[in-house]
Symmetry: D2
Subunit: 335 residues, 4 copies
């Protein structure tokens, strides 16, 4: 049993804590949050200790690994501290909003053999992973075009948006990682376009976009197209489509239920989509913990690591530049 | 070019006349209706002669064949007259509401080598025919169960219902033929159940049902299940499903269009179903004419003939008896 | 926390034990199996006591309730013993293969206020329950016809089939309960047909069928059609369709994953169906435990009780008689 | 009855000739082709005159209108000649491969009140038009993103590709028009990317692409994304998706038939897609003729005119420049 401490017990940290507690090969060693009552509530509910500080958590012999789910600004520091303490790490995305900070962190932890895994949970979705498997097994031949549709069910609160680092770093970053996962090779060119259609005044104020399209290209010419919106009224729209020389594989949306309704004005009507990521990716979050435990216990490589987190951020930086300049940006321009 | 006269220019006769007029290998030789103005209107519209009488039509050298679309009570007489006149026949279902009359007609025309085809148009539907082809090509292995869902979009006028001969002879008869077509062997047992749910008072008055289920069985044990309703608010529900030892083939409903709609309360909503048979089976009606012309010009056997019409009526008689007696009826009890 | 002992640790008992252990409001008080090593393995795996006997389990103060998952022949006895011991009961279907024994059991436990729940798990499936909800909320108007397609992915071992009590008591019984659940009123007439198509020689030997169709009718004329096969090569086929005066609701099959594949010969190809009941109804089994705990802790009525188990068996008896006699059987003929 | 002459009797001209001949309100006045035997064959088959020259066709009193389906290089000349002769025009796309030539043609025919319609047939597809209607009726709220997937089933012959003017002018041009049709406002920015993945050596030789993605943006920030491939093995992939503030509307692909197949390895498998445009857009081609006849007979405006043809070519020019320069191109840069 691997003992895992959860650092940060907000909505996503709490979910991870529950998944770890329920996992047959993991043990929730305790929880920490900068806001002690939040951690206390989760600790009480799950019957585990609350740590008074990050240091206490990292010092505990019960803690083999940490799951970092605190606010973004703390991620890089916590990674560095955890590596120093010899703990395996599963860190929520992004590593940091600043590529410089990520690079500095990379330098600092260089050479560690500890498992450091990034929480790009969508890689563990059976549908999206099924598309990747279809490619690997040759079912669609040579990959040519990837289409990722990714729309949130609704605008986050203004305060969240303002501190998010912008849509490319906050939301599209998942899709950048998905594109890399499906493409199976590095992106060399990024072209991005943004619009302000959902909440123009907020977007204006933040110098951000709520509706974006990004086109990625690899050295060999493979294309990936990402379309994002901050608000889809019909729910959390999450689709991945891979087109190749011998066919196509599609990972479909998930409705709340497998019921179809017919009436006087319509037929074959499905229920709304699962909403939001905690429901849509419930199985994927559980499988993510399994993969992390496998990496720790069996020495398997982490399926998505620090460098994947860095690459996704690098693509976000390229997209920001591309949208601002109105031109294709080579990833080598960014770093 | 085969010259075809249409006898009876009601809704369905008019449609057949248009299909014949537009057919590359057929020629509409003229039309007749007991109500002369109805025939005159169609004749004018399509630029063809109106015949003053059935005799005139059958006497015309321009007429190689007749399409009988007049009222049911006239079908058997017209078949006999047309055979006597040496004309090929495409007759709308049913041959007659009385099995005795059908048997008498069979005796009278016995030995003719003229093509006599029955208008069970659904056999020509590419979906339903596709299910049959899947069976013939071995794609579902040995056939075990056939499920036919067949619901009209709305009640016909009371007068029509009253004269229809009852739901089994009027509506289920199409499904009896479809069951025989898909089963590929004769039915030996019929078990039927009827309810009065759509218009109980009318059904009571007519001693009829508006909602029925029929289970058919063949000598080898294959089963076919037919469910009918006189009114489906979502449109003309026409599905055929064939289940076998190696798989299943389904002929699906046809929506008005290939548009799917998503909104705040639903996803993947399709348009209503095509409504009614003239739209749903438009291609099938055209292909039916082609098959008829093939039989005449190339001497191919008619794909669905007089005996098929007789067998479907025989199953209707068995169903009527079964529903009345509450027991399974062997088809050999009927004739 | 409700303490529950699991009696019988075969495949399904083990699954229930795991679900109870993982349930936030239940506690697995221990397990028992007539084959001690089987119980010991589950006990060790889940870290709970193994009981030496049923008596020991029923005597334990830790045990508030029992889940009966032992062989069918023991169910009625265990129900009687558990009621005598004052324990709430969740019993796997069927209560017994003999209606007489079930009636005797009913007499013996008459008047108990203990929650006695029957394991008709499909009522807890969100899809099937969604169809029921659509009816209750008026979305399809007055219910007219229910169509239940229920096919197992493969033949059980010969020994199982031989001891099963026949397909109507063993397999269709789930569909009888589903029909009652969806219909919302009692069945008054049963008409059944059976064939031997999957394994004719085994079926001959057991005087059983592997392919059946049953038509049920209520006093008001509502119809339910059940089609069963012991083997569907494409997986565990579980569909429920409710047709009414204002629309239709369909509970669809569940594919292994939401991936669609396109190739040179086909499009929109889905993965095989979930296979078998433990996977297909995984969420339903967990929700079943919740409903049981609700009944115990909050005094809510059990959503499916002893009488539901008796009624389903009664319909099975009627179907057996109907198939044998070739006639519709009134349920009042049976009991 | 409007008399229409077809100029050019290749594959598409022949189809148009058949549609005109079958149209209830049009009359095929005759056909012309620079290769006389080709025209003669069609003329004989449809029982209409063959014209010896364009001049003869334009001089005929039987000719009210011309359908131009000759090679692209002749379109602009034929438009000018036909306008001079006072004939209404339905011209296949594109007007010309050169925007200068199109502009010169526009100048020459300026002021004519003759109906001049462009053959962007996809606007007449009931699915794509259904998406537009959903937008116009407010069903998806404010339009935000349009996604057009458009893939040919296979590479055209090398000679065709070499003379095509490149993928943007030859293939994407349909999608540029579709984007304008769905967006309902003019595009101001074009960003295009091309790859050589299907036939790299041919593409290299032609300095062309076989796999492209184009992102369009309007003044108000609406986005349209077009993905093209010259070869989809699963058939002619033609989808349009419109996402807005209140929902989404999707025009789906068309399978050859409504049959779904289930087997040991798969479920719900559809037939391949309709292949190619003559089948996929058969109804749309017929409706296009109707719209043309309406414009002539009833003086309705043509639903898609010369300026639409010019705008689509302008977007193609912008895309070519964008792909070459690796930057967003403002349409006002092109003209």
């Amino acid at each position: 049993m691997t003992g895992i401490a959860v650092l940060g017990t907000g909505r996503i940290g709490r979910m991870h804590a529950e998944n770890i507690a329920a996992h047959p090969r993991a043990r929730l060693a305790g929880v920490y949050d900068i806001h002690a009552p939040a951690a206390a509530e989760v600790a009480a509910q799950l019957g585990v200790p609350r740590f008074d500080s990050v240091e206490a958590a990292l010092a505990s012999a019960e803690v083999d690994a940490v799951l970092i789910a605190s606010s973004t600004a703390t991620h890089a520091d916590l990674i560095e501290q955890s590596v120093a303490a010899g703990k395996a790490i599963l860190c929520e995305k992004p590593i940091d909003l600043s590529l410089d900070r990520v690079n500095a962190c990379a330098t600092k932890i260089a050479g560690t053999s500890l498992p450091i895994m990034l929480g790009f949970v969508r890689r563990f979705d059976s549908g999206h992973a099924g598309v990747r498997k279809a490619i690997e097994s040759g079912q669609i031949g040579e990959l040519h075009q990837v289409t990722i549709t990714s729309r949130d069910p609704g605008m986050a609160p203004d305060a969240y948006i303002e501190a998010s680092g912008g849509i490319f770093r906050d939301m599209t970053i998942h899709d950048f990682d998905m594109a890399r996962f499906i493409l199976g090779e590095e992106v060399t060119e990024v072209t991005a376009t943004g619009s302000r259609l959902v909440d123009p005044s907020l977007m204006q104020r933040c110098d951000d976009y709520d509706t974006v399209t990004v086109v990625l290209k690899t050295e060999s010419g493979k294309q990936a197209i990402i379309t994002n919106s901050r608000r889809a009224v019909y729910g959390y729209d999450q689709r991945v489509e891979a087109f190749g020389s011998a066919g196509m594989a599609i990972s479909e949306n998930r409705a709340l239920d497998h019921v179809r309704l017919y009436g006087a004005e319509f037929t074959d009507r499905a229920t709304p989509l699962k909403n939001f990521f905690i429901d849509r990716y419930a199985d994927a979050f559980a499988d993510e913990i399994s993969a992390f435990v496998d990496a720790i216990e069996q020495g398997k490589p982490v399926p998505v690591g620090f460098e994947d987190g860095r690459q996704a951020l690098l693509l976000a930086e390229a997209a920001i530049l591309s949208a601002a300049k109105g031109r294709t940006v080579a990833t080598r321009e960014i770093g």
